[in-house]
């Protein structure tokens, strides 16, 4: 049995009506409770940033990320344990968007 820990699931997406509901459904379907949620415009123009915190296993967190990324409007999703900083993730996102734009 895998240990449950607090994970941060970070999502960058287009700004689209109904997307929050369908992303949160991905948690609901697996019986994962969302402990906290923030949504705000990201530093990237036109792209929103969701941050979910949830107690779950690493495997489940990875699966949730995969299913969130399947949503057409989602640009990128990540998960990491709550104890690390999000600086690294911002770096990845920046690089990702630069690569896409090239």
């Amino acid at each position: 049995m895998e240990n449950s820990n607090m994970y941060i699931i970070s999502v960058y997406s287009e700004n689209q009506v109904g997307l929050l509901s369908s992303i949160s459904n991905i948690f609901t379907r697996r019986g994962i409770n969302i402990e906290s949620l923030t949504v705000f415009p990201s530093e990237f123009p036109g792209i929103h940033h969701f941050t979910f915190r949830a107690i779950t296993t690493e495997r489940a967190a990875q699966q949730v990320v995969g299913f969130i990324e399947k949503k057409v409007e989602v640009v990128k999703a990540f998960c990491f344990p709550d104890n690390s900083t999000s600086a690294a993730e911002h770096g990845i996102m920046e690089e990702y968007l630069q690569n896409r734009n090239q």
Partner: protein, 572 residues
């Protein structure tokens, strides 16, 4: 410069621009504007009027699966939209490209519990690939373009457009531009070279390599690439239920269907192989048995276009994200020519046991009532294996899958992941509409046909020449089988008192014949196949028929029941 048109006209023009010539649907209050405009487009868009919206979406699914082109459904708001939900979920899990256009109340009435208003976006979001509410006429064409792009690329799936009254009646500029790029939606990239190298090395060093392929092979038109791969590597291969007909049934390396009611050879070889190559399949629990005991000796290579499928159920040694045709072609170039003759030939030993203990008694009995498998096998034989076989869900489906034999790809259409009873009849209509030149035979139970039996009206009105074979045993047979095996023969609510199907056929003006004697079976099937119009063959089959072999739920794939009291024992 484009033209000024209403949103309803823009919708129809956009469909035509996407190459659509047939839609399935049912009118209603919130979509009446579109139907009004459709009246002027009858020469360019053929509309199949179904009898219930569930029929429309299953027909569109059958159309899409037979042709490879997206099926299009037009329904009204509220109940029209909720009635297609089952089909949307079905198309999602079975990767079927379907575009649903559902009417919606006016923008000002959204969220007010207006007549026939329902939260379509909220309901379909979790079960479809993309949902979009169109609120302005100028958004119609871009939304349709995106819908077709999303539905038919990557891992295909259903898309729902929630089309408000304002967007239908309002006027906007129309100029159609196909969509080939969405910033947040990445198309499958070329597969990773390092992963291909790692896979090729595993395959080259394997003693007992084995392929299990799914519908991904059909969707990505990878049939020839798969054949070349199997030939070069000398690798035996099994199909999932939805992968059936991707390889001809007599292809030398093909060992049969995998899973719960699959062939003994396929399941035993899965457990014994040392390298398992999964192509365009998703390790459904109906394929794997207990996942923790699946292919215990194998290194696993999983090729899929959907990243979330890789490693979801079965941990992989090498995951290859990409399109099956491209991956197989590149992988074939990398692997060495190999022979695994002894390993591949072991299939024949398993086949011999299965034939003696299960298949021969099922398909060629010398006495007693007609068997389900016997009917299926005869239809395959007498149709020259050329028909598109459509099934409903249950024993008819398992028998249809087990005893049909295929020459051509896209010849097996069934509801796999969702297991939707009632799928068969409308899906067969859609398949025939899409492929009018091919014979379409439906196997359906006496239970399942009654779930969507109203679609006989569609057949009557459209003259769709579907051949309907009712495997009629007066039971909900598959549940009854489970009750017999696992619930102490307590037949709770599975006995059916059926209507007189001859009178039903008569009411709809459809040719009908009942067959209950073996000596009449061949001739009855010939008469059905020769008919130019729709035909119902009501086959009265053995009442307590069972589908074997069977890997009971929660068992390993090598724990196979050959009949009620006999497990398969290896080496006999």
């Amino acid at each position: 410069m484009g033209q000024r048109l209403t949103g309803a006209e823009i919708l129809l023009e956009s469909l035509i621009a996407e190459g659509v010539d047939t839609v399935f649907g049912y009118p209603g209050g919130s979509i009446i504007t579109v139907y009004d405009k459709l009246y002027s487009y009858q020469d360019r868009l053929k509309h199949i009027l179904v009898r219930h919206e569930q029929g429309a979406i299953h027909a569109a699914q059958g159309y899409a699966r037979a042709t490879g082109r997206p099926g299009v459904v037009i329904v009204t708001s509220g109940p029209g939209a909720t009635n297609v939900i089952t089909g949307v979920a079905d198309a999602m899990v079975d990767s079927t490209p379907v575009i649903v256009i559902a009417g919606q109340v006016g923008n000002a009435s959204l969220g007010t519990d207006a007549f026939q208003e329902t939260d379509v976006v909220g309901m379909t979001g979790p079960i479809d690939k993309w949902t979009y509410q169109i609120r302005r006429p100028e958004d119609v064409a871009p939304a349709v373009a995106k819908a077709f792009h999303i539905a038919s690329t990557g891992r295909p799936g259903p898309v729902v457009l929630d089309f408000t009254k304002d967007a239908q009646v309002g006027v906007g500029w129309f100029e159609y531009e196909k969509c080939d790029h969405i910033r947040s939606y990445a198309l499958p990239a070329p597969a990773d070279e390092a992963a291909l190298d790692a896979a090729a090395e595993l395959i080259d060093n394997a003693e007992r390599p084995f392929v299990v392929f799914g519908q991904g092979v059909v969707i990505s038109h990878a049939e020839e690439q798969l054949k070349a791969f199997l030939k070069k590597g000398g690798i035996p291969a099994a199909s999932t239920m939805l992968g059936l007909s991707a390889l001809p049934s007599d292809f030398p390396y093909y060992v049969g269907m995998a899973g719960m009611h699959g062939n003994v050879a396929s399941n035993m070889m899965t457990q014994k192989c040392d390298v398992l190559i999964a192509v365009g399949m998703r390790f459904s629990d109906r394929v794997t048995g207990t996942p923790s005991h699946y292919a215990p000796n194998a290194k696993v290579i999983h090729i899929d276009v959907d990243r979330t499928e890789i490693g979801k159920i079965i941990p992989v040694d090498v995951g290859i994200l990409g399109d099956a045709a491209e991956v197989l072609e590149r992988l074939t170039a990398k692997i060495k020519f190999s022979f695994h003759d002894e390993w591949a030939a072991s299939a024949r030993r398993y086949d011999a046991v299965e034939k003696a203990k299960v298949a021969a008694p099922e398909t060629a009995p010398d006495q007693g009532p007609i068997n389900m498998g016997e009917v299926v096998s005869k239809v395959a034989e007498l149709s020259g294996r050329k028909a598109i076989i459509v099934t409903d869900v249950g024993q008819n489906q398992l028998m249809g899958a087990r005893y049909s034999r295929f020459a051509d790809t896209r010849s097996f259409i069934s509801s796999g992941g969702l297991g939707t009873m009632g799928f068969g009849l409308p899906a067969a209509i859609g398949a025939k509409v899409g492929e009018p030149g091919r014979q379409v035979c439906l196997f359906v139970g006496d239970g399942g046909i009654q779930m969507t039996i109203q679609e006989l009206g569609t057949i009557m009105q459209e003259g769709t020449a579907v051949k309907i074979i009712i495997l009629n045993n007066n039971w909900l047979g598959n549940v009854r089988q489970w009750q017999e095996l696992f619930f102490g023969e307590r037949y709770s609510q599975t006995r059916l008192l059926n209507p007189d199907y001859s009178l039903i056929a008569k009411a709809y003006g459809i040719r009908y014949r009942c067959v209950s004697e073996r000596r009449e079976l061949d001739e009855a099937i010939r008469e059905m196949l020769d008919a130019k119009e729709a035909y119902i063959l009501d086959a009265h089959v053995v009442e307590m028929g069972m589908v074997y072999p069977m890997v009971p739920g929660g068992r390993r794939l090598d724990e196979i029941l050959l009949n009620k009291d006999e497990w398969y024992r290896d080496g006999e």
